[in-house]
């Protein structure tokens, strides 16, 4: 079984400041890791994914995340945020195999202030 912990329910930040959204997971098997973003009244959009290879992965909108197997973490970072980045961010894990379900964290609400 897998589980995901997002350590911050809300992260307020000023525009153009850097941000890190934290995610830790637990699993007895190897997993794939994902970050999804949800804008108000919209669905879930994939930001980035870690399937294999380089532990630093880059996604859309200038976001990146680093997979740390020893710390079972997959923190999301952006060096300079915009007002438009205000949204809910979900970390998710999935066992390897085509039909495996996603297990989501509780989400982190990023609020970017001018």
């Amino acid at each position: 079984a897998q589980s995901v912990t997002q350590l911050d329910s809300q992260v307020p930040v000023f525009e153009e400041a850097p941000v890190e959204l934290r995610c830790n997971y637990s699993s007895s098997v190897s997993v794939y890791l994902f970050w999804y973003v949800q804008y108000p009244n919209q669905g879930l959009q994939l930001l980035l994914k870690y399937l294999s290879g380089s532990t630093l992965v880059k996604g859309i909108n200038g976001f990146e995340a680093e997979f740390n197997k020893s710390q079972t973490s997959f923190h999301l970072r952006k060096p300079s945020v915009h007002i438009s980045d205000t949204a809910e961010y979900f970390c998710a894990v999935r066992g390897m195999g085509g039909y495996n379900k996603l297990i989501f964290g509780a989400g982190t609400r990023l609020a970017v202030h001018p």
Binding site: K49, G98, K101, L102, F104
Partner: protein
Amino acid sequence: EPEVTQTPSHQVTQMGQEVILRCVPISNHLYFYWYRQILGQKVEFLVSFYNNEISEKSEIFDDQFSVERPDGSNFTLKIRSTKLEDSAMYFCATGQDNQPQHFGDGTRLSIL
């Protein structure tokens, strides 16, 4: 970029009624899923569907729920005898092998 399409975007139903939520998957995807997000809570897995049968279901997915792909294109979630606690956003997702799942915009289900 291909999209997962869900209809309706919002469904309001009286308690005890049946609802059917519809999803049109991305055309070459083989794996289909339904997830639920109660307002203010995390996204929860309901069911996965592959090769015309359920692959896995959560404890939420009891006899009240069913899924089917009746015509080879639409993927539906039926909720019989709806309850107040079924009010939530329901997301369809589809996937291919080990690639990320793609989500639709969701159906907001309101049970009165």
